[in-house]
Symmetry: C2
Subunit: 220 residues, 2 copies
DNA sequence: AAATATTTTTAGTTTTGTCTAAAAATAAAA
DNA sequence: TTTTATTTTTAGACAAAACTAAAAATATTT
């Protein structure tokens, strides 16, 4: 079965939103993510339910069927492999690739994506630390963790922030914490959950507020 | 200015057809190439004329404006660079890449295509021997010539056929002439314009009917 | 030059995916 | 438990890009 660009974007979005919803994904949530109107979402989910890629109950939200999940995972696989290509081969920065990958993920050829996978050396995570689904549709748990969740001794590189408010980003800048920084947890303070870390070779103290908003991709 | 996928396909097609039309490109010719109806073409060329990328005179056909030519050349540049990528990096065969490149040519990022160009080592021709326009929009003459137009001593590789009728392809197969074959013109017979060629190291005689239908990409 | 054939355009629909405005269902507050 | 607020759906409209059928313009024959 074939899906339009728009349908693919809906399926991908519902897949991502499902991870944060216990029940079905709400119409409003989809609308917000896709920057569209709730009424448009209703139209589309009705169509997708006809195609049996989602389960949709009026006023109750939607969930992907197994069929829909497979389609979504294929798109995510393509997106993440292209991101690796852009960063590893074309030397793009991590923060520059998302928009381009949003387009590349809709290129249809199955053969293309499998050859690209091979060309890239079968990577398991994308530049943001998110896992790349296999050809068979298997997807590992994310290697991306909040800095505050790391144990003493664990290390990795900073791959993103949770809350990207300007104030927070300025603070990070002042402390020389950037995307790409190597970070190792040296010790934890039980009382206030602050951390002592090794940042690119230098010693640094980090409060819980900060460590709760930094994503780390674990080494290895 | 931005163009839809459909508009881009029209501009590209008109560019290609202009090479075979003295006056304006006919509505029917565009319709045939794009496998659509003439009435749809009329609608679209009127829209493109509004956008000043083509000149359109009712019943007289269309020609690209300088603006339209630039857009078309950009798309062709992308198409051909992606073809090089698919063949050189992902080991696709020449006859497998066209369809995929038809999709990739519509990926928008200018930065992407320039980096891809660099990654591929600034190639000047695509796998079919067609020239790749530069970043500035300059496009060289094709290095692809009919075998019958080569002079004695010239050599290259076979990159395509003009008339791809099944009978003809079978004949080529029998003679061991294939896409990728190295061909050198050893001598020409004035009387019937038949050729003596070196085909991958072996001597072969070729009639005018055949040499008029084989495209050669010159070496170097 | 008139008749015929071909090409091109116009007029009116259709499909896809979106929108606005209003109605209906559900959730939250008084 | 009413009332109010929020969410979701329906109904109707619109733009893009295609289509069919018929009319108009151009080309080709006779």
């Amino acid at each position: 079965m074939n899906f339009s660009l728009s349908e693919e974007n809906y399926l991908k979005t519902i897949f991502h939103l499902e991870q944060h919803f216990k029940e079905g994904v709400s119409t409003n949530a989809i609308a917000e993510k896709l920057e569209t109107k709730p009424s448009s979402v209703t139209d589309m989910v009705q169509k997708l339910a006809e195609k049996e890629v989602i389960r949709y109950v009026k006023y109750k939200g939607t969930t992907l069927t197994e069929k829909g999940r497979k389609v979504a995972i294929k798109i995510i696989r393509k997106h993440r492999l292209w991101e690796v290509f852009l960063v590893d081969k074309l030397d793009f920065q991590w923060d520059e690739v998302h928009e381009i990958a949003e387009q590349l993920e809709h290129i249809a050829s199955e053969e293309l994506i499998n050859r690209l996978d091979e060309f890239l050396g079968f990577p398991t995570v994308d530049p943001h630390g998110d896992p790349i689904p296999t050809k068979e549709g298997l997807i590992k748990n994310s290697q991306k963790r909040l800095l505050s969740k790391l144990s003493v001794g664990e290390q990795g590189i900073c791959v993103g922030v949770k809350d990207s408010e300007s104030e927070f980003l300025k603070f990070l800048d002042k402390k020389n914490i950037a995307i790409g920084s190597q970070i190792e947890v040296l010790s934890k303070e039980e009382f206030d959950h602050s951390l002592q870390i090794n940042l690119d070779g230098k010693l640094l103290y980090i409060s819980k507020l900060i460590s709760d908003n930094l994503y780390i991709k674990l080494d290895g």
